[in-house]
Symmetry: C2
Subunit: 342 residues, 2 copies
DNA sequence: TTGAAAGCGCTAACAG
DNA sequence: CTGTTAGCGCTTTCAA
């Protein structure tokens, strides 16, 4: 069923040896111009395609890279995957995507799965649940090419691609402050991720700079980062039920930010009249929200490209690499009405 | 660099032949219980993983399926890919995604690329530009497993997974009519796609049923389906500039629908006060829009699953399949304020 | 119950 | 310039 032609078929048809055919196909110099033309023409005619599996077996590489993300159906990640694909494709790699759904166990299983498929390298964005990164350290120490992007493991010295989360959060928070908000709460996702810390710190730094307090009860955690709407409801109900109810909310994570909108409305609060809102999100329709959202946007596509370039460079390096780069790109603050003070 | 263990390593270490090791690993019956245990224990200890590439070479299949979509960063497709992955993963296939960016040329190139990678089958959603489906017919006739989903080629008799586009469009249009709109225009994407026709026909049928006309100048085309904002601007500017300006707009395509919102606003029209709006989209934040959007939603995840199941069944079928199923699933109409009549 | 050997498609070292 | 051959990791006859 759908057998394709092999080098052998060509050799037989042309009464040549397979090696001659191989040489012709690969543009070797030690071959007669006529023979070469003969082979190429015939190959063209029968639409010959080399079998990449045989090639992979030969040179011990699969020409594929594994990508680990929490969810494909996520603005940031789908845009990043777009960037990943664009580079990988041009470099002759294919991309195998696997999703953790924010589960550390699934993440571990996916890594094993990708390894058993002999991917040449791994592009990783940690799940929110991942606390233990030892499997990555192990691989990394064994010389297996790994690049982290966005949600990185800080305790492993590898290539990394991130945004300046601190600055992104700082700017957004300061925007809220400049609008006139003083009592600002933060909703954030799981504590393990580095990006959470950085964004949290950026938030705190902005508050501190302006002499504003960040009481503990103004810090609300949603472990599933907006995937579970009940969690967001609970968090916001609690925040908005406080005696010193916050005047504005800063959200550190994509879905969390967009999830805040319907939840706040459902709880009876108008944005920004009753409560201001700003947060990280890569949604490309955040400007059409009611109200239009003030957002921090990450250059997802570019980050995907950058990470993939680093990974492929590592994979194809003749020598083991021991110098790792941490690329940090900027975020974009888009100010809209949700952060205005009425 | 990162060499993994082979069956040979085990054989050497245990002083056995590779075939014995192979048999032990594969639970063959013609093997001594002791030897078997020995091998399995050792394999476990060194964390042995069979090389899928060698296996593929042997049995002439790659255990991978190719997916062709226009864009990963698209609500519908990212959700569908989610479904595709879930089934493929469990069946031991990996998924190679490639994007056409709505270009027929890129689509053709991607197909060739996937074929040269010897994928075992193809899951295809046509690009908006694709008019010529002969490459698919050719493959299909050669016995290559293909399943179309969402944007299908109707002139090829293969497995297909679609939604009831006619009904989805019919219901949404009728919803606008029931709200009190009479002059309803339609913005739609490229003419080649079957889904466009079906949705257009559903729209027309609803209009006819209620005795409403669909003049030609109420039909507006955006070839790039909302990817190019200028196109949407042009289309809407023209529609809204008509002497008999439409009172409502029905949009047949995901991004087109969401793109209508900022464009209409920018042109100075309020939704639904000045113009009603309803359309297809799988955006999961359409309820947070200003105004909340009346949308037709497709069960993308399920469609991805269905298509993948069909494909894998075809791939693994012992006999050539000549009976093809056309699965059609329902759409969901979510009525919100954008389609209300003020 | 085990081992030897061929073969999947391709490349490359070695002969000629 | 071209052919022969071994080998990548694995399974599967065929022999023993």
């Amino acid at each position: 069923m759908f057998k394709s032609y092999t080098i052998k078929d060509i050799a037989k048809a042309l009464n040549l040896s397979t090696s001659t055919v191989s040489r012709a196909l690969n543009g070797s110099y030690e071959i007669g111009t006529e023979t070469k033309k003969l082979v190429l023409d015939y190959a063209e005619k029968i639409n010959y395609r080399p079998n990449p599996i045989a090639l992979s077996l030969k040179d011990q590489r699969s020409r594929s890279i594994g990508v680990i993300v929490c969810e494909v159906a996520n603005n940031y990640f789908s845009q990043a995957i777009n960037g990943i694909e664009s580079i990988a494709y041009n470099s002759g790699y294919h991309v195998i995507i696997s999703q953790t759904h924010e589960s550390a166990a699934r993440e571990a299983a996916n890594v094993q799965n990708l390894l058993s498929r002999h991917v040449d390298g791994l592009l990783i964005s940690l799940s929110a649940e991942t606390a233990d990164t030892s499997q990555y350290r192990y691989l990394h120490e064994k010389g297996f090419p790994i690049v982290f992007f966005d949600r990185v493991a800080t305790d492993i010295d590898t290539h990394r691609v991130t945004v300046d989360n601190f600055k992104g959060a700082f700017e957004a928070t300061e925007e809220l402050i400049h609008s006139g908000y003083k009592k600002i709460a933060i909703v954030t996702n799981n504590a393990h991720l580095q990006i959470r810390h950085e964004r949290f710190n950026g938030f705190k730094a902005a508050m501190e700079k302006h002499g504003l307090p960040v009481p503990d009860h103004y810090v609300s955690l949603c472990a599933h980062g907006g995937m579970i709407i009940g969690e967001v409801e609970e968090a916001l109900t609690q925040l908005m039920g406080l005696p010193d109810r916050p005047e504005a909310i800063f959200s550190t994570y994509d879905r969390l930010t967009t999830a805040c909108v319907p939840v706040l409305k459902q709880l009876g609060y108008r944005i920004p009249d009753d409560v201001g809102l700003a947060g990280f999100t890569n949604s490309d329709v955040s400007g059409s929200f009611d109200p239009p959202l003030t957002v921090v946007r990450q250059p997802a596509f570019m980050m995907g490209q950058l990470a993939t370039e680093l990974l492929i460079k590592t994979i194809e390096s003749k020598f083991p690499i021991h110098e790792y780069t941490s690329e940090q790109v900027g975020t974009e603050l888009i100010v809209r009405r949700s952060s205005a003070k009425v």
